[in-house]
């Protein structure tokens, strides 16, 4: 058919360019310019990962133009024929890679498990789920053991129509090369393993890879003892249970069972391997990615003799929830530790998952967090859930560096991203600590809040630290800058993603009632809003007096019910004004640690304090378990993850009898302003997770209360307006939260009460004068002789001396 030959040609063209890139890169490498510093050479992505659907598309895919329906990019898939028993099947699979799952189908549970393993969830509201199949999701599927035929067969069974050709093509081409070769550390020697000698041949034919192989035996080594080590499971643990459940649910006959099983038994006997020189492992990994054979990385921690075990176990009282267990089982599938990312909602117990992983591997662990507060929190959690000795946990932040006898680092080290990735000059101690980190061979590196850190920082960190197993933990894998794909190949595939609605229904997360409350602007404020510049506008719609009133009303309402309320505001000016006017404590950047602790303590234990105001500092992992209402009065432009994270602050179930919703999230927006736009954008993510946002245009009971609320009188409103307009640039800015002082070691002396007004350093004058770090410096005295005295110079530049000393 004409259509087919056409797409064939297109694909060929793509392939050619892919190879060309590869060649030029190897040229450069051979010229000996390859840099050992992994952070300066970026990690490439496999070519297959950039698969473009539109190129290989069938001619039949009509794209309905916008004029007909008003909706852009509508595609017409009516040509796909439905199967006879399509009502029994739960999936629609579109040639563009989107899959729609009916949750009311009897096969929902099994189909859901399968789809979560094979594709990316895009949107999961109550009745119809939407997923997308991408090369990345297939990579993840392969790494947990699903094979090409299995995936295609199961999809075919579950789909209402015949599986479109494009999908079959995508699955075949993606899974053809992924998961075929594995990098294993066994008895302190690195091997590339594979079932098929063809794959190893292809790899060996490449000159770079061949260079990195150990030369003990020429050519391939057949590792029979490795096969024994693998046991019955073969190269990759296959998720047999899941597949069997599906087959059974579909009531297929015996014949079909066997097709799922046969691959496994045959594969177990032969596992071939090539030995790699330890220093060249990074290069091999990179090269294999370029060759489109990304290596699965698994760490055989049980047989790792070189790194000593740490005495660390889970306490007997620790309870691991079923979804946490499931995520860990994906990581430790066949007795080896897989690298990857686990996505769990905020408040669902990610820290515990990290602790359990560390206790399983029992090797030196490095934990990277986003802020000094999280460092404390992780340490607390480690002590709480595991039997590790307090002395063995070391923290490394700008404020705290404690030296032990054996060096700086304990078996578990907790630090921040900025401390490790910082590229500039450091104090001597930091430098030492970093050297120690660099030279150590880490068993496990835990990356907290993986979505926050920019990809370049990751590359730097991962270039500096050598770890066998990398586990990324996050609540939201969406990023505004779309660099999320890179993380797949820097850390590993997504191992597990939890469903927020499911967790809610099982009672592990609070059921949250989300509401957007519309506050109209007052006439004067809106007038000013129309004429001012962008920054002032933001301040104006935040300081809207109606918003003030709404906030006060909501606070009173919830405090009367005994709820604990947190009010978030990004903008400091607003935060201070609101908190002062409503007489509540507030916490922002400059608030001292002692003050923060004091406020938190009061908030949690004192029934008289029901509300606190927090700025952006509250966004990073601070544990506030007792809050169940969040009011958001101002927020960052459209950041979806920020909204999701704030929801995480309250997503801790609080038993409260007789009420369905036990947590509330209010987002206050001023109508007819830009805020409406940003607010809807940010809710998108939560809506896709299944939360519904209710819009409240009118709060019941508020009209009567109005005169008792703040800023009711016109004069007050006008004076507020004047204050807002007078606010200078600096005050209007959003708070810039510097998580850890990467720029220097400024230790803060905490004042006993009140806020931190100045920073005090307890360093020597040397540091102040910039001489810290200098040990010896030579001055070139010979040069100094050549400088003529000021009296002899022809031209005197300094104005003070010009007149007096200039030669006439």
């Amino acid at each position: 058919m004409n259509g087919e030959t056409q797409c064939h040609k297109v694909r060929k063209r793509v392939r050619k360019t892919a190879f060309k890139d590869v060649e030029t890169k190897s040229q450069r490498v051979e010229d000996g310019q390859e840099n050992d510093e992994a952070d300066t050479v970026s990690m490439p992505l496999p070519k297959q990962a950039l698969y473009n659907f539109t190129e290989g598309g069938e001619q039949n895919n009509k794209v309905i133009s916008k004029e007909h329906t008003g909706i852009p990019n509508l595609e017409d898939f009516a040509y796909l024929k439905l199967k006879v028993d399509h009502e029994r099947r739960p999936l629609w699979v579109c040639p563009s890679g989107k899959i729609f799952l009916e949750t009311f189908s009897p096969l929902y549970k099994q189909a859901y498990d399968f789809l979560v393993a094979v594709s990316e969830p895009a949107s999961r509201p109550e009745f119809i789920h939407e997923y997308t199949i991408t090369p990345y999701s297939l990579y993840a599927a392969v790494s947990v053991g699903l094979e090409t035929e299995t995936i295609i067969r199961v999809l075919e069974r579950l789909c209402k129509t015949n599986l479109p050709k494009e999908i079959v093509e995508l699955i075949t081409s993606s899974t053809k090369t992924y998961g075929k070769a594995k990098l294993v550390l066994h008895r302190n020697i690195y091997y590339i393993q594979s079932h098929s000698s063809a794959v190893l041949d292809t790899l060996l034919r490449d000159p770079l890879v061949a260079e990195c192989c150990a030369r003990t035996n020429a050519g391939l080594l057949e590792q029979k003892n490795l096969a024994l080590m693998e046991g019955k499971n073969g190269l990759v643990q296959r998720d047999d249970d899941m597949v069997h459940n599906i087959a059974r649910a579909l009531e297929e006959d015996e014949l079909d069972y066997s097709c799922f099983e046969q691959k496994g038994s045959k594969a177990s006997s032969e596992v071939l391997g090539i030995e790699i020189i330890a220093e060249r492992v990074e290069h091999v990994k990179r090269r294999c990615i370029e060759l489109d054979y990304p290596l699965l990385e698994e760490y055989d921690f049980r047989n790792d003799i070189r790194n000593p075990n740490i005495e660390m176990d889970l306490k007997a009282t620790t309870q691991v929830r079923p979804y946490q267990e499931k995520s860990l089982s994906k990581m430790f599938g066949n007795g080896l530790a897989r690298s990857g990312v686990i996505v769990l909602p905020c408040g669902a117990g990610k820290t515990l998952v990290g602790v359990v992983a560390a206790c399983t591997i029992k090797k030196p662990t490095l934990v990277l967090c986003t802020s000094a507060v999280s460092v404390e929190q992780w340490r607390h959690q480690f002590l709480l859930w595991s039997t590790i000795d307090e002395k063995n946990i070391s923290r490394f932040t700008a404020d705290i560096k404690v030296k032990k006898d054996s060096g700086w680092l304990g078996s578990v080290t907790i630090t921040t991203y900025t401390m490790v990735a910082f590229g500039g000059k450091r104090a001597r101690e930091s430098q030492e600590i970093l050297e120690e980190m660099r030279s150590r061979e880490w068993g496990l590196i835990l990356l907290d809040e993986v979505h926050v850190v920019p990809a370049n920082m990751f590359r730097k960190v991962l270039g500096v630290i050598k770890a066998h197993c990398k586990l990324g933990l996050t609540a939201t894998l969406v990023r505004e800058d779309e660099r999320i794909e890179d993380i797949n190949f820097l850390i590993g595939p997504k191992l597990y993603e939890a469903n927020w609605l499911d967790l809610q229904q099982s009672g592990y997360l609070a059921t949250v009632q989300c509401a957007e409350v519309w506050c109209p602007m007052t006439a004067e404020f809106y007038r000013e809003y129309l004429v001012q510049n962008a920054a002032k506008r933001k301040l104006l719609y935040t300081m809207n007096p109606n918003k003030f009133q709404t906030t006060e009303f909501l606070i009173r309402f919830h405090e009367n019910r005994g709820d604990k309320i947190i009010v978030f505001s990004d903008n400091i000016f607003a935060l201070r004004t609101y908190a002062r006017r409503l007489s509540r404590p507030f916490i922002y950047g400059p608030t001292s640690q002692a003050e923060r602790m004091r406020i938190f303590y009061q908030f949690q234990n004192n029934p008289a304090l029901g509300t606190i105001f927090i700025s952006k500092v509250g966004d990073t992992s601070i544990d506030l378990p007792e809050a169940n209402v969040i009011i958001q009065i101002s927020s960052h432009y459209g950041s979806r993850r920020q909204e999701a994270q704030r929801l995480g602050r309250i997503l801790r179930p609080k038993p409260r009898s007789g009420q369905h919703f036990n947590a509330y999230f209010y987002s206050l927006v001023s109508t007819d302003t830009q805020e409406m736009y940003y607010s809807s954008k940010r809710q998108q993510f939560l809506v896709e997770q299944g939360y519904s946002f209710q819009v409240i245009t009118h709060l019941e009971g508020m009209q009567e209360e109005r005169q008792n609320l703040a800023y009711y009188r016109k004069e007050e409103q006008l004076s507020l307006l004047a204050a807002v307009l007078a606010a200078d640039e600096k005050e209007m800015e959003e708070e810039f939260v510097e998580d850890s002082d990467a720029s220097g070691d400024v230790s803060r002396i905490l004042s006993k009460d009140g806020w931190q007004l100045m920073k005090r350093t307890n360093r020597s004058l040397r540091k102040l004068s910039g001489a810290d770090g200098l040990v010896y410096q030579e001055y070139d005295t010979a040069k100094a002789k050549n400088v003529s005295s000021i009296f002899e110079r022809k031209v005197i530049h300094h104005p003070l001396f010009r007149k007096r000393l200039a030669k006439k």
Binding site: P72, N73, L530, Y678
Partner: protein
Amino acid sequence: MVNLLRGVLITCDIPMKQFILKLDEDQAPNRFVIANLDETHLFIQSWALKLVQDKLEELYEENYYQPEY
């Protein structure tokens, strides 16, 4: 003598009234607001109706987020 002027009565909410007043100012030589009745009512000239509607559309486009499909 009675002077008659035909116009359009606009009923709106408080912020929108400010918006229309501002629009009126921007139109400097061709002002269209005849009378500012109270906080929520305005009396404008008939020819300006379309202009007001267009500008309102623009405002809505700016402030309401449409998710991409």
